[in-house]
Subunit: 473 residues, 2 copies
């Protein structure tokens, strides 16, 4: 007879509360990550589209496609909706229908769960190398489309044997840039020796989270998997009795209390009703018009960019790498003109910490509505689902008084598709913020309620990514 | 500060345990339901397709459509999948993309929640009249497409004022006959006097459930809303201390214990991982080929039927009614050749009752996989997602020894679209059944785990319908 044991969730929590790992100091890991690009250099250069190898614009429709028909495709969409600042717009979008795996192997050492993390380069990473999950595999990866080597440790996820599943959830990627792209977010726990390949290290969850206090060191892929880890399972009446509140800090304690609490400003049924009402009350209409059908966008020899501001651009890059499976390749990428802002407003309501969640319609929204953070301008445009600096909370988050900023750090989006797309991820805690008058698409949720939304794939990647940055050690 | 109060769930539970209502005996309600067709007769006759008024087969594609373009459309699909007995088949399907409302108004009388239920006729009901929710409204209903009167009490759901939301969930209808049709399942609690319109009565949940022990008296719409009612919220550590186990009966007690228990044969993460693996591991390919593109089907002047067995047929009916919003109309309907079988195998595993859930790929599956009961042949065909008498558990459920049959009763599918489509809904409890070797698409779930699946729209209508039939009073 198995239950989701108390101890198992406390396992994630204990690891999150452990800032000193069994193998390395966090400083060593930082030094290792910073040294890796020097040891195994990767050179990435933007190039003209006509210098792309095996990629070209199709004669019909103008989509940017790979010769094999695999990987992904950049196409054009006309979007219509009745939620958000724009009723209609057109934009490029990445179509990559396959489901990849983002997997972390976990193992207990000295009673504390450690995560097998990798130093990995991606062409779009601002610093070249980032701390990533044990495995990131697209289906192309493991069906060997691009002739590279099979990702290390992948077989542990495909044939799990006696490994214990701690997380296994389908999660959506950026609905503003992907046409319904999902990844399988996994954490499996093993209880056996594993050969430690070069480029891999065992870290506690607390160490991984502490690294998220530094700009651009931890990949988006890591952040989304970490967000799926249930630190405190309120359904199991998990207790925080063992928590050293002084060590964790006041705000971190409030976050954990909110994960553990059954109290909330809205009942769970009211939250579900709010979401149901938004899904029923709004529409999302997509029309596939191809890249060449886009109006309001201009294609030069080096980029596809919007006539006005907002959104993102499509570019091409040449990559020379000594660490990737393939040593040289070219590919299209998504770039952004400016640093974005991704932020949660938080506040205590009757003693329980809540975050302000905003519902958006994004072209890649699976079921019309994507739940996201209070403010989101990661990919520039209001039209692409973000706030573009115009929402009522944007200034409040951007220009918050230092004393209210609980977290603020530059983090980048996934470096395999996004080229130096960086946002200020921040959490701003404002007393009395729950007295703000809210538009119908905003609601205060407790952290327990957000965790449940994560579990069922209802919280967008920006919100998940931001939640994962909360550290407790 | 609001929480989902203990008392509120106990509210559903208390009502479910109350077999004697504040207003009527259950016998009175049966008499009332049986008398209604006599008082307000409805005559339904199958007719040739060319006698349909305002419905016709389109020249291009052959779809059966309404002149207004509204209501619904019968079209043709080619389906490909790698889960289930057939890799490919073609079938008619109902395309009705709008989201309707199935809503029940609840109110406490003498400390017990009562539900405002309606006696309503639908052309496909075997007995003409059934006990339905307070409101069933398609979007056509409330936007007045068919010139009828606006459904009574609808405004309580559209503008809820101070009503309390107890249930508000999007739930899928039959994936074997509908192309992704959802309804909004709602229960709202009011605390004010309400005019009682003719055709409506207040019943306890226990009374409604007891009526489900009689064939075809309670509509599918009622059953799906009832299935969304969380009797025991294990997340809140709801207690069953007040339960009179003798009155409820041994099996009913085991069901309630399973709702309340944190114990389960698989952890919640293992269940989620099983579902994730099935979604990732299987595919559903749909090709819209139009009604006239179907091979393996024959259209006569009165029906569209498969060459072999299985599946269902499409027919046309003429309806004369004194109780519907429109007094006479014609429409296409789905008919079935034989009585179906919808069944759960249950068994105790380490003292906790579990039901055997089977994952199916149905053409209308929202995300490839629909979770359903152990056995399901409601709409005839293995190809349409059911078991068609061929699965390993069909005989076990169909020919179960009387002593193991906890529930067995004929129930019909929704009478607005399905013409006398009736199945034997049954629950068969077999000691030691968990020792059966399971195919990968089957898993034993506790009732708490099934309830959570319901909450997030992951359990198909047949399974929900069957769960709702469990009675405790």
């Amino acid at each position: 007879m198995k239950t989701l044991p108390l101890q198992r969730n406390v396992g994630f929590l204990k690891s999150a509360l452990t800032g000193i790992g069994g193998f390395h100091t966090t400083e060593d890991i930082v030094a290792w990550l910073r040294a890796t690009p020097v040891e195994r250099p990767q050179v990435v250069n933007p190039i003209p589209f006509d210098a792309l190898v095996d990629w070209s614009f199709r004669e019909t429709g103008g989509d940017l496609v790979h010769r094999s028909g695999k990987f992904f495709r950049v196409t054009g969409l006309r979007v219509r909706t009745d939620l958000g600042p724009r009723p209609q717009w057109e934009q490029p979008i990445i179509d990559q229908p396959e489901i990849g795996i983002l997997g972390i192997i976990a193992r207990e050492f000295d009673g504390v769960l450690h995560l097998l993390m990798q130093a990995k380069m991606e062409p779009g990473n601002p610093l070249g190398v980032q701390l990533t999950p044990t495995v990131q595999a697209t289906r192309s990866n493991y069906t060997q489309v691009h002739q590279g080597t099979r990702p290390l440790y992948l077989d542990h996820f495909l044939e799990r044997g006696h490994a214990r599943v701690l997380v296994d959830q389908l999660q959506w990627e950026h609905g503003s840039a992907f046409l319904r792209k999902r990844n399988r977010n996994m954490v499996i726990e093993i209880n056996e020796d594993l050969p430690l390949e070069p480029g891999f290290h065992w870290l506690t969850l607390g160490q991984v989270k502490n690294l998220m206090r530094q700009p651009n060191l931890v990949s988006m892929d890591t952040r989304t998997v970490v967000a799926c880890m249930n630190l405190v399972d309120a359904r199991k009446s998990d207790s925080l009795d063992g928590l050293d509140r002084e060590q964790a800090g006041e705000f971190a304690g409030a976050v954990l209390d909110s994960f553990a609490s059954q109290e909330a400003a809205s009942t769970d049924e009211e939250v579900m009703s709010w979401l149901t009402g938004l899904k029923v009350g709004h529409h999302l209409g997509l029309e596939h018009i191809g890249l060449s059908g886009l109006s309001g966008w201009k294609r030069t020899d080096r980029e596809i960019r919007p006539d006005g501001g907002g959104f993102f651009t499509v570019i091409a890059v040449d990559v020379k790498s000594a660490s990737r499976e393939v040593v040289r390749w070219t590919q299209p990428m998504i770039a952004a003109g400016e640093v974005g802002l991704v932020g949660f407003l938080t506040t205590k309501i009757d003693g329980v910490l809540h975050a302000l969640v905003r519902a958006r319609v994004e072209p890649g929204s699976a079921d019309t509505i994507t739940l996201g953070p209070t403010v989101q301008s990661a990919l520039g445009g209001e039209g692409s689902g973000g706030d573009g600096g115009h929402s009522e909370y944007f200034e409040l988050v951007k220009n918050a008084a230092d004393a209210t900023v609980r977290y603020s750090c530059l983090q980048s989006e996934e470096g395999g598709r996004f080229y130096h797309v960086v946002s200020d991820y921040r959490i701003v805690d404002v007393d009395g913020a729950h007295q703000l008058e809210l538009p119908p698409e905003c609601l205060w949720l407790s952290f327990r309620q957000m965790q449940e939304m994560v579990r069922y794939g209802l919280l967008g990647v920006e919100a998940r990514s931001l939640l994962s940055c909360l550290s407790f050690a």
